[in-house]
Amino acid sequence: MKYVDEYRGAEEAARFCRAIERITTRDWTLMEVCGGQTHSIVKFGIDELLPDKITLVHGPGCPVCVTPLELIDKAIMIASGPKAIFCSFGDMLRVPGSEQDLLMVKANGGDVRIVYSPLDALKIALDNPRKEVVFFAIGFETTAPANAMAVYQAKKLGVRNFSLLVSHVLVPPAIEAVLSSPQNRVQAFLAAGHVCTVMGYTEYEPIAKKYHVPIVVTGFEPVDILQGIYMAIKQLEEGRCEVENQYARYVQREGNLPAKDLIEKVFRVVLRKWRGVGEIPESGLGLTDEYAEFDAEKRFALASYTAEEPAECISGLVLQGIKKPHDCPAFGTRCTPEHPFGATMVSNEGACAAYYRYRRHAARQQAA
């Protein structure tokens, strides 16, 4: 497939592996921020091809994983109502709330629908004027333009039965949270290519400077990731700390300006709670006052609800790169994709699920 196959070639991958081997003189720890990159690394076995000196830790960039428990509970409360049609991306449906998940709500007769775009949810609202249609607007900057477009259109069309349950999060504050943790061991970052396709990478430049870390905007195919790692290691070995762009075939320094304008029109930066991590100031997006009527939390009077996460789950430490999935005593035994404790085991992009699916046996041996 064009634009994909050429970044999955064995020869090209081997060429970068040799180059990485050649320039690496000491131990380095890198974090890939995005869950999509984690999935690629584990699926294609990228880390197995790297020199032992390089450690990859998996970052907090899985939007499904970091959506806080109370938001899942709120989604479940809304979806259980008789008048609601609750629309969501597919992989949110299996994420455990405090007592159940959205798939169980659906099995019990709730109208829960998988959609591929928030605009599909808006169409459902137009087709069902007597129902309250709610879209679960989660994600990083990548999904923000489409979610912004849905409410922008809804307001323009005067749609009254459509709202968003918003849990948008932002990458730069998450990187800063990792870097400012006393337990931090990450020395360089692979930033998420898709996020930067929208936002560009100017906001990473002050972070690289302040914390003296190289940041390489990186794509998702094996050759992209290997090239991103090469560029990061080269910076580390040469003592540089710059923002570089491996994913130049899609990412421009300024990002996608019309998309950014739309985000700014509809959303404002707010404090957000991250599952497993806690509250991070100015780390997410919420609707502006102008669009407040489309806020499902207000419409369903759920703003004050809170929930506590189960103490046993270490997904927060996994998300921050402090622990690996198999460091958890419950991994693969009491916590599995069929019976997950936390969201990192549920989502396709979650580090625990990726480890479970592609290297459960290897992980067990390593732990033993």
């Binding site: 994909v4 999955r8 081997a14 294609f44 076995g45 091809l49 597919g90 299996r94 591929y116 999904t143």
Partner: protein
Amino acid sequence: MMAHGGGGILMHELIEKVFVPAFRNPMMDVRHDGAVFGVGDARLAFTTDSYVVKPLFFPGGDIGSLSVTGTVNDLAMCGARPLYLSAGFILEEGMETEKLWRIVQSMKAAADAAGVDLVTGDTKVVDRGKGDEIFINTAGVGIIEHGLSISPNSVRPGDAIILSGDLGRHGIAIMAAREGLEFETVIESDCAPLALTVGDLFAHGIEVHCLRDLTRGGLASALVEIAEASGFDINIIEERIDVREDVKGACEILGFDPMYLANEGRFIAFVPAGEADLAIAVINAHSVDTSAAQIGSVSANKSGGVTVKSLIGATRIVDMFSGEQLPRIC
């Protein structure tokens, strides 16, 4: 509460925990698509399957053609030539007669194509709201006309694993029709009867060890089950697995892995390495728009696992998937 729909680990658990203990007998092999037994001098295969697919009509097929083809293919995977089918219909009150007519016509066409007769049946009507328009159960009997034992127990180290064609068309066709997804091209189901192809493998004297069609759970689940049951490791090479461009594109968008997608006209055959080329030629003689390939082999290691050499040359394990694949966010 039941949540066992996807054909992965959850379904596996349900069968092992509920049905096997209740019905255990020498003939039952939970890891096979049907039962094989002798009657007089003849060896027969017997199988049943129920069809609840949504939507009823999809590009490349419908619930009717599927209900015939699926059962015919289960018999073929036992190494049998399908002879007779039964059909049980559960109809929801209010279902349009025209739809039923189309489904029945499609069953007839599929039976003719597979060379089987539908010889007995039953119809029940349930109240409106108690069914989903139509459910179909079919059962089938076939005759085994060779002396081979087609089973994971017959798998031997060194066996070549032949995949009969490209992966994933049925799974994507159903998903696209069910969710109203529009791709640039319409992806049609690969739904097709396999009995004639498989019969020809035997007719050419190929010593087939094991056969498995790649329905729910896809190639990955089939390989994992056979590796577990045979006790031998299976090694496959990702590069050799054919996935059509449009299916690949759909998988990239939805975050699916083609190895786990359902197929209704694809199977894997375990044959001695020396007979791999002949088996591929025989299968290809029956294929219209796809071709068979050897995707891997059975190793002498006895950990009972499946590994795949990824496109960039690293090795990883292949696991059974739990539940249904859900489309991802981005």
